[in-house]
């Protein structure tokens, strides 16, 4: 790891101010992606600004129609939250399978979505649950937030503060985890909302990061069952191909995960 300067400001305002005054800074939350990246010298921020212990970025609040989670809340806290388990069990379940127990004790929701790793789990939930991403300056819709692999609509020095997930009528997430890293080779999050809207978000498989699968959504809107998925052709051209799996393999995994998610609901 190259040299860096560590800061731990006590508030969001001070974190933003510090960021503006540093040469080439990075916000640090749980650090489960940023620190390995720095150790490999693929990132070399002049300053890391630790926001994990800022009180305003913590907390989980459930209302009648939404669950709002602070950006510095760990995966373990989401997985173990009784409020989330009651309101959106598929979100707690998703969090309980990220990485391993020790990684879940450090890694945070805000860090995960700001990084937008194409194989991360949370982005699928954010899209399928039509979440709103709140930052220190504005709010982003889920549709606008994830722009491309490892890219978001966050501006320079903009910090995610909390994420509000709509509580769906029904939701399920199924992922096929890479046996070594536990990242998703394909993860499918299916949600049926109160107004009848069906959202199907796919992570791990797409060649341009997380995306909504329109054909699966249309098919499930017509027939809410795993049988509806049987005849859907998943387009291989939109799939990622790498040493872990070919595009054809991932296309098939998307279908299988979509069916597994539906089967867990019906």
């Amino acid at each position: 790891m190259y040299e860096t300067n560590y800061h731990r400001p006590p508030s969001v305002d001070e974190a933003i101010k510090l960021f503006a005054n540093c040469d080439d800074p990075q916000f640090l939350s749980g650090g489960q992606t940023l620190l390995p990246t720095m150790k490999q010298r693929l990132a070399a921020p002049s300053d890391v600004i630790d926001v994990k212990q800022i009180d305003a970025l913590g907390g989980i609040r459930a209302s009648a129609d939404a669950v709002t989670i602070g950006s510095a809340v760990t995966h373990a806290a989401v997985a173990n939250s009784h409020d989330i388990q009651a309101a959106i069990p598929a979100l707690a379940e998703l969090a309980s399978h990220i990485g391993d127990p020790h990684v879940r004790n450090m890694g945070t929701l805000g860090g995960s979505i700001a990084n937008n790793d194409p194989a991360a789990d949370y982005p699928a939930a954010v899209l399928a649950l039509d979440a709103t991403i709140h930052t220190n300056t504005r709010s982003h819709t889920a549709a606008d937030f994830f722009t491309s692999m490892f890219e978001t609509s966050l501006g320079e020095g903009e910090l995610v503060t909390k994420i509000s997930f709509k509580i769906p009528s029904k939701a399920a997430y199924a992922k096929f985890a890479n046996p070594a890293s536990r990242y998703a080779m394909a993860g499918v999050y299916i949600a049926q909302h109160e107004d009848g809207e069906i959202r199907v978000a796919v992570t791990g498989a797409g060649s341009d990061g997380v995306f909504r699968h329109q054909e699966l959504e249309t098919a499930l809107a017509e027939n809410w069952s795993s049988a509806a998925i049987e005849n859907i052709k998943i387009d291989e051209d939109a799939m990622l191909s790498d040493i872990h799996g070919s595009a054809a393999y991932r296309a098939n995994l998307v279908k299988v995960m979509a069916k597994r998610a539906m089967e867990s609901l019906t």
């Binding site: 190259y2 560590y6 489960q32 150790k39």
Partner: protein
């Protein structure tokens, strides 16, 4: 350089280190507590697991500065004098180690999982919870057996460990 202070195994410690110092290196190099191991150094293997404010974390993937002001416990902080912690005793009794390199991380992970699950800790849960700890001697069976035995002893329950 920055001054890192923390409670390490119940002792107040402090040292000046570079900001980029990883927690595992701070513990090993500054305080000569070499029980915490660096295995893969890529947050896969879990040989570096320690407890920070009571939760198990991989100390190769945390800056020492992040743990400044925290309460940190390593494998050296488990035994009371000559008396081994029940998890350490169970690993000894049930031959839960071969080369022993992964053992400190395994034991720290085991203590945390027993604290979280209590009497609910069954064999399947133990195996799932060991997802972040790798034993290259592949001695998992006796590790699971050791953790089950320790959990039963610590929670006052008697049941059959993995045979």
């Amino acid at each position: 350089m920055t001054t890192i202070s923390m409670t390490l195994n119940g002792q107040q410690v402090s040292a000046d280190v570079e900001d980029r110092t990883l927690l595992v290196n701070y513990i090993r190099d500054q305080h000569s507590l070499t029980g915490t191991h660096v295995g893969c150094d890529t947050s896969q293997c879990g040989a570096c697991v320690v407890h920070v404010n009571g939760t198990a974390v991989k100390s190769c993937t945390m800056l020492a500065a992040q743990a400044s002001d925290a309460n940190v416990k390593t494998i050296e902080g488990l035994a009371v004098g000559e008396e081994l912690h029940p998890v350490q005793a169970a690993f000894k009794e049930h031959h839960g180690l071969q080369c022993g390199f992964c053992t400190p991380g395994m034991i720290m992970a085991a203590v945390a999982m027993i604290e979280r699950h209590g009497t609910e800790l069954d064999e399947a849960t133990i195996r799932a919870e060991l997802e972040g700890n790798i034993c290259r001697c592949t001695g998992y069976h006796n590790i699971v057996k050791s953790i089950k035995a320790a959990a039963d002893e610590m929670t006052g329950r008697s049941s059959q460990a993995a045979e």
